[in-house]
């Protein structure tokens, strides 16, 4: 049942990325290129996603626990630190250079090309490196 829930959530996510156009790096770079022919599509995607999630989360949290698990697993930290902000900055550089963040990069696998394959391998290597630098792992 948990795997089925995971599959359905992944399927909706993948359809959402494809239908919104986020599986096209040209769309994403069009949004990031504020000094060029600016493409606001990403704002509509993020807006639709955040409003839906905001509402959906509050409905989900009316229960004591999720349907298929013992408890909600939510991050509790609220402080800002160098790791968070530095990590976000590194991510921003990579995102700006390529137009890919992790979701669209993986969801684009059905249209795999050599550059995308290189991106995916390097991204996994980056996750491995980050874990080596992280005391929590």
């Amino acid at each position: 049942m948990k795997a089925l829930a995971g599959y359905l959530a992944g399927l909706l996510f993948g359809l959402g990325l494809a239908i919104s156009g986020m599986t096209d790096p040209a769309r994403v770079i069009g949004f990031l290129d504020v000094a060029g022919a600016w493409d606001p599509t990403l704002i509509f995607v993020l807006g639709g996603a955040v409003i839906t999630t905001f509402t959906g989360y509050r409905l989900a949290w009316r229960r004591q626990a999720p349907v298929l698990d013992a408890r909600f697993q939510l991050p509790t930290r609220r402080d800002l630190d160098g790791r968070l902000l530095g990590g976000a900055a590194l991510f921003g550089i990579g995102w700006g250079l390529t137009g890919y963040c992790p979701g669209p990069a993986v969801a684009s696998l059905p249209g795999l090309s050599w550059p995308l394959a290189l991106f995916l391998v390097a991204m996994v290597a980056g996750w491995w490196l980050a874990r080596r630098f992280s005391p929590a792992h």
Binding site: G6, G10, F13, G14, L15, G16, L17, A18, I19, S20, G21, P25, A26, R27, G30, L32, A35, V45, L46, G48, V50, T52, T53, G56, W61, L74, P75, R78, D79, L80, R83, L84, L85, G86, G87, A88, I93, G94, W95, G96, L97, G99, Y100, C101, P102, G103, L109, P110, G111, P115, L118, F119, A122, V124, A125, G126, W127, L129, A130, S134
Partner: protein
Amino acid sequence: METMGWLQGALGGVLIGLSATLLMGLLGRIAGISGILSGLIFDRGGDRPWRLAFLLGLVSGPALLMLTESDLGNTAAGAGVVGLPVAGPLLMLAGGLLVGLGTGLGSGCTSGHGVCGLARLSPRSMAATLVFVLVAMLTVFVSRHMLGGSV
């Protein structure tokens, strides 16, 4: 028409929000792609089956649209579901490494911080989202308009 592209963006966003809601309501988890996939690769334990299923779902969404030759895609060029990379192999390699390292150190990407974190009104996610969006815009500005797209 451009307005259709924006509306389709909002519709896709709602689907992403439904995905996040489903994952929270059923499994109690944040729909953060970098966390789910890096956890699938590097962590042992009970989360592996649903994380693997999520990955299969994530890939089968666009695959389904491509196999049925659906015109529901929203690429800038107006054709197809999955757009081609615009950066060359070396940039894709460097960019991928930075995206992996950055989302690993910063505990999240556009989905975990950008969608779920903003919806939770988390101060950490709001700060992270502000930083990665602004840095990405600056990166595009420098590479396109100062270095003339030669990078």
